[in-house]
């Protein structure tokens, strides 16, 4: 009974600071970074590429992810279209920023796998409007963050946070001179983003029109990235995720070259 008050006080002190309104931009971004995005996940993704004339190209990809400590492993296989079926990509996304990610690819028609050495993440992912830096976590120390505003996106409250790279290297790495991120206040998900591209006067708009809670994890089951210039849409990518499951029995063996070369 004696300990009730101190315990209570300690509880109050630890719980109270968690009040959202007092967080700094940096702190918010830290929480975004630390957010649980699930482990041992399996999903089917349909990637639809839409050009400025509204022509569509669709690809279906099956993807597996597994955390290894702080690092992330991902292996994906093309299911469709037929001419690229079983093409696979294996990625080790290292938490340590100074360490380049490892990526291997397997082209069934070639019959062998290759390691891809590509040091910047500004390149497009699979020809889509997403680039690699969009798919991986950022080095928070490389940015100056600032809360611009609080708004609502699809009736949910968000912080509007500006992220400006501190050094040229980061701009070269990601391909963006500036970003504005819309972070949901309830689950620290980045639901919208605007990125100013380094070259050619382009601006990219990321949106998550559909967000679901699956196996206790918040997942964007529909995500779009639109590249615009002078208010005109140059290209748009839609990602739709199906059959998203977490905590699947995935062995480390799944994330190996041997498995990559087997295809689906």
């Amino acid at each position: 009974m004696k300990y009730m008050l101190p315990l209570f006080l300690i509880l109050m002190i630890t719980v109270l600071p968690l009040h959202a309104a007092d967080l700094t931009a940096r702190q918010i971004m830290e929480r975004v970074d630390d957010r649980d995005d699930g482990d041992n996940g399996v999903s089917d993704m349909v990637m639809t590429l839409i050009d400025k004339n509204k022509n569509k190209r669709a690809r279906k990809i099956r993807s597996y992810t597994k955390d290894k400590g702080e690092d992330k492993q991902r292996i994906m296989f093309f299911v469709m279209p037929a001419d690229v079926k079983d093409t696979g990509f294996l990625t080790y996304d290292y938490d340590e920023y100074s360490k380049d990610d490892d990526q291997w690819l397997y082209l069934p028609a070639l019959g062998k796998s290759k390691r891809i050495a590509s040091s910047d993440k500004s390149g497009s992912f699979m020809g889509s409007d997403f680039n690699y830096s969009d798919m991986t976590s950022k080095n928070l120390d490389a940015y100056d963050f600032r809360i611009l505003d609080e708004k609502e996106v699809r009736k949910e409250k968000v912080w509007v946070i500006e992220a400006i790279p501190k050094a040229k290297e980061e701009i070269e790495e990601t391909g963006y001179t500036k970003s504005v991120l819309f972070v949901r206040q309830d689950n620290y998900m980045v639901v919208r983003g605007v990125h100013w591209v380094n070259e050619g006067g382009r601006i990219k708009y990321m949106d998550s029109p559909k967000i679901e809670l699956i196996d206790g994890i918040w997942v964007a089951t529909k995500r779009t990235m639109t590249t615009k210039k002078n208010k005109k849409i140059l290209h748009k990518t839609e990602l739709n995720f199906y059959n998203v499951k977490f905590n699947q029995p995935l062995e480390q063996e799944v994330f190996s070259l041997r498995r990559l070369e087997k295809g689906l």
């Binding site: 690229v84 082209l107 290759k114 050495a117 992912f125 605007v194 601006i203």
Partner: protein, 809 residues
Amino acid sequence: MIIRFRQKIENGFGRFAHLIYRNHWKVLFLVLILVAGFASQLPKLTMDTSTEGFLHPDDPAMIAYDSFRNQFGRDGVLVVAVTAPDVFDLSFLTKLKQLHEELRTNVPYLDDITSLINARNTRGEESTLVVEDLLEHWPEDAHALAAVKQRAMNNPFYQNLLLSEDGTTTVIVIKTDVYSSIGIDKEEVMDGFDDEAFESDATEGQRKFITDEENNELVIATHQIAERFNGLDFKVRIGGGPEVMYMLKQTMQTNMKRFIRLALATIAIALFIMFQRISGVILPLLVVILSLLSTLSVMAMAGIAFKLPTQILPSFLMAVGVGASVHVLAIFFSHLQKGSSKEESIAYAMSHSGLAIVMTSLTTAAGLASFAGAEVAPISDLGILASSGVLLSLLFTIVLLPALLSVIPLKAKSGDNAEKRHLRMDKIVIGIANFSTSRHKLILAVSGIIVVIGLLGVAQVRFSHEPYKWMPESMSVRQAGDFLDQKMGGASMVEVVVDTGKENGLYEPHIIKGLEHLKYEIEQINDGPLTIGKTLSVADIIKETNRALNENQDAFYTVPENRDLIAQEFLLFENSGSDDLEDFVDSQFSKARFTIKMPWTDSIYLDKLSVDLKKRFHQQLGNDVEITVTGINALLGRTMAATIFSMTQSYLIAVIVITIMMIILLGGLRIGLISMIPNLTPIILTVGVMGWLNLPMDLFTILIGSIAIGLAVDDTIHFMHNFRRYHLETGDVADAVRRTLLTSGRAMLVTSIVLCIGFFIYMFSILTNLFNFGLLTGFAIAMALLADFFLAPALMMQFYKQGKPAVEE
């Protein structure tokens, strides 16, 4: 009957003149209002000096070009070439990087910039596929630098595109925006998520392409930056389509402005010398300026943009305007000198020359109106505008001129000087008249020989269009362009689009292999003036990727046989360098772009090349694919071909129309036809001179014909009209010729001298096309005068000697 009809009209003009005299203030006021009305429309005038402005918007070649630009962006690239003793030197590369960065940040409307700094380098290193920019990892030591050099020099893609064969010149390629940014306000961040933007694209219709002003801005910015970097071991040269376009436009505009002013000045001086009066200078020039002003207003009202060929309009109106007003004034002053009152002199001048002026104006207008049917937009515009201009000039001459003469205090010049000059000129003119009539057979024979020589010259005329070469070699744009042509295989592009018509059509090995084969075939073309520097297509990318995937072995620098492998290699490429891919293929992989880079070439060869290319491509790729040859240079080639055809057509129609009018106006079939001889001779001789002197018949000189027609016809009508009148009175040819030359002849002489000087002044221009323009137009004017001073009288002697001197009614 015709005589009386003519007399009635002449009397009518006399009465009209009297009417104006008595109401001169009212007339002046009305004219002022009219002019003000016209002038108010002037601000609406737009300018369009693009090559695209040459074709009608619904011309299939234009539609194909627009479709190409919408898909692949702008075809002309701005090229910044840097020369050094050794490109692969660390300090040089450092400076190059700085230049690259500066251009990237500070050149407006920039879509993409490529140089050795960020050039794609795909290679295989054992089991690793390396995809990076060539200078991603800045070489730290000599060893790393040597490796970079080796990679660059051995990369077939860089050769003649980013790097010269001897490794001393490297190029920064700037691709500009294809669309205009005018009228676009900055996007609101939240609005960007509005997907309606997609829908509105369809309803918005065609986006405007990059404008001249925007092109100017970016070229100027590039120059400013390049100048700062230019140095001894870092020689910077700027070339490429946007540069040449800019320079050409600038020089054309400054030259035209300068020379129009010079021409006006020299004409003013010449007029003064002729008339020895200020009024003799101001009045004709006023008529010219007002008709020019009103014609430009008509352009503005009709929404016709001022284009490159339309730049000839001021010179044309000057020629025509001076001609008509000088005729009136010459007769007016002559009469005034003889002692008549001002009112009488005005009436006499108007009755004497009014009909003739109307006839010349109508004939010229009708002749030029035949241009309106031309396929080439600016030429059909010119037809409409020039004929409108002539009629407006007529209006000012017969209304404003008498009114002003009524107002201005004018007296006969006193003193012997005026008398002496008058008599001197009379003597000359009479001398010519006598010579022409007495030696008419000689004249006809000599003229016949000259015409034959002229026709031989005409047969030698070569069609050509090289606006690039209008600029003198001393200009930096020429030096840069010639350097690029020599060292880098040129900076001028022809584009071929291969449309397989189905999604993933480009996955087919035979298509990619076909493109590969075409590369070898086309790069071999070396046909005199036509040489190909380099070709680029998606086949290069596939081969590069294939080699990189196979440990960089050269044996694998080939196109795979396996369709799936091609599909997967495309996927791989999309995954790493898809920015480059969109330059070569559409997103459906159904269309491939094949770029042909070459030195600046005469457009006359490009039309033939286009036809040849289509044949070759179909041969290699079959008939299931659709082949389109486009790009701005191919467009010029097509324009050239279209123009030659339509101009020839237009001139023929003009000749027929004018012949008919001459027959009607002169009141007789035979005399009408005969009058065409002094009409056509100056033109034949002028074109003949072009042939003999090897002056090119290009899109600029071809318009000289319009001025030549205008003036040759004017002179002939004046001669014939007056000759008929005098001949009817006496039946004596020699006497009629003498009297004709004493009246209208004097005016024709004055006009021709004045205009010759005004046009010969263009020969001081540095631009060869303006030099040729001045030379040829002046020559045509001189020939028109000689034809009507010598040939026409001789023809009349011949015509009337044969049989009845009676007039055909």
